[in-house]
Amino acid sequence: MKREGKIQVWQEYQKEIADDHYFYVRSCIRQNFFPGAEQTFLKILRNELGKDIYENPHHTSCSGIAYHSDVVPFDTIQTIVARQFALMTEAGFKNLAVSCITSFGIYSEIIETWKEYPSELEKIRNYLKRATGREFEVPQNVAHASDIVYKFKEDIACKMKFPLINQQTGQPLKIVEHIGCHYSKMFPSKGVGGAEFPHVLVGMIESWGGEVVDYPERRHCCGFGFRQYLVMSNRGYSVSNSRKKFESMEPYKPDAILCNCPGCPMFMDRWQYVIEEMEGKTYGENGRGIPVLTYEELAGLVLGYAPWDLGLQMHQTNCEPLLDKMGIRYDLSLKYAGKDGKLIGKPVMECEC
């Protein structure tokens, strides 16, 4: 592809991201598996960047997983989303900050539907009014939380305590970046860099001193597949997709995998454990797995937040190899400790993945 062509594509996929006053909507999967990551995002925005980000406790799941498993109809999810927008409107906000990638895809899909089909928007206004008495405005700006971290990546870089440099070798850490499918595959213009060259995580990695790994299956789905994971007898599909990616990235010896969707790191983390159990194979160095992080966790590490405050102990594939490379100190005896410092039991591991 000609350089001119790439620049043209890139210019088309510059995305407008609001710079303050966000209404935050949480992610079901991130709350369950990476709750420390959401708390870290809020802490970074409020304490490091001085931003105004508000959470209304009355907001709910957007129901995206149920919608993409086809048990919730389109009208229902549109109205649930309209309710989220109503809460945002009532609180005086115009900028939505979305924690989940599936949600981000849903909000994008529904807003585009309402642009193309104004009668649909009127129908949903009517449904919401009948069900809840609420009215809403469509957000002026919808950003995924990773877009916001991308926007302020240089500010974070200025406060960096642990750059993405291997302290043992002095070389940039090699990081695989994995973008959630629903971030930009349906609406490329809604993602920084579009569907083919998403830049949202590349920008973070490069700003913080790391090196991005390019490998053949870079844009391949991790395999969540909604119903393909939710039902036990379908999970072969899910693990097979992730395995394809691991096999493809392995020769490039990545130090970590970075994700912006909450589901992808859950799968890429757990499926490494499963593949080790099923086939005896691991993909990292020294028989270990490749640490998988969310962008909030990586931002937190770079800023010097404590690993167990970030919630890295909730990962199945250990992150300690990455922490060691970054020169981050941690106390293993506190890994499974509670808020009071006392041990909350310990996972019974047959292998140290």
């Binding site: 999967i29 109809p73 229902t76 069900a131 809840t132 629903h182 083919e196 405050d309 102990q313 909730m314």
Partner: protein
């Protein structure tokens, strides 16, 4: 019933299929086509034929349940079609008509409705820690089991507000908000969908000889959650 006409009432269908030229690039990029006996190009062809019998067979088949709804197809189609959206319209119609119970994969919709679907209506989350029972999720590993058995302390440690009032991860969503979600499901057809899934599943469960636990036919739910006939890949 003209099934093609029914499909055209679904916005996902009209947005997803706007004239397919059968180039097959969707199949080339599709993850489901890699791992299942699945071909989105053939699905688009079948629909465009408007042949009622073929569409009915499709709605009753395993085929429409293989898609992972990743939307990779959208990135490559030269006509701007999205087979993933067509699939969503087909799955909706299959459930409306009760055809989903004719296939092993389709029958699984009851399990999803009982877990994720009901979590949304009654708790305000698709997934909750109490849903992640280790026996049903062995892939979550020893750490998953540790989190499940010590959930309150683990979530407290990382700053969540599990089952608490006010803001925070995994907070208890106020009842008045859950009442609003309930009314949304009532008015928008959400409960109609749930009721149809239950109704047709019950008929199928009885015809397949599942009668234990008649109230919730949990033996049937366990069966659909765990059964795989091993014939879903290309033979």
């Amino acid at each position: 019933m003209e099934l093609y006409q029914e499909l055209t009432k679904d916005i996902r269908f009209t947005e997803g299929l706007k004239s397919c030229m059968s180039c097959g690039i969707c199949t080339a990029i599709c993850p489901a086509a890699e791992f299942y006996d699945y071909d989105p190009r053939i699905i688009a062809c079948t629909i465009q034929s408007k042949d009622n019998k073929k569409i009915e067979d499709l709605l009753k088949s395993e085929t429409i349940w293989y898609c992972g709804e990743c939307m990779s197809c959208k990135t490559r189609c030269p006509r701007g079609n999205t087979p993933g959206l067509i699939i969503m319209a087909l799955r909706s119609l299959s459930q409306e008509l009760g055809y989903f119970t004719e296939s092993e994969k389709g029958r699984q919709q009851l399990a999803i409705k009982r877990t994720v679907g009901e979590n949304v209506v009654y708790k305000g989350y698709c997934v909750l820690p109490e849903s992640l029972i280790p026996e049903l999720h062995p892939e979550l590993g020893p750490v998953g089991e540790w989190i499940y058995e010590n959930s309150e302390k683990v979530y407290e440690r990382v700053g969540a507000n599990y089952k608490g009032d006010g803001e925070g991860a995994l907070r208890k969503i106020p009842q008045e908000s859950m009442d609003e979600i309930y009314r949304i499901f009532e008015i928008t057809g959400g409960f109609d969908r749930f009721d149809k899934i239950e109704h047709f599943s019950k008929i199928k469960a009885e015809s397949m000889g599942f009668t234990e636990g008649e109230e919730d036919y949990s033996d049937y739910v366990n069966h659909i959650f765990t059964t795989n006939n091993g014939k879903h890949n290309r033979q």
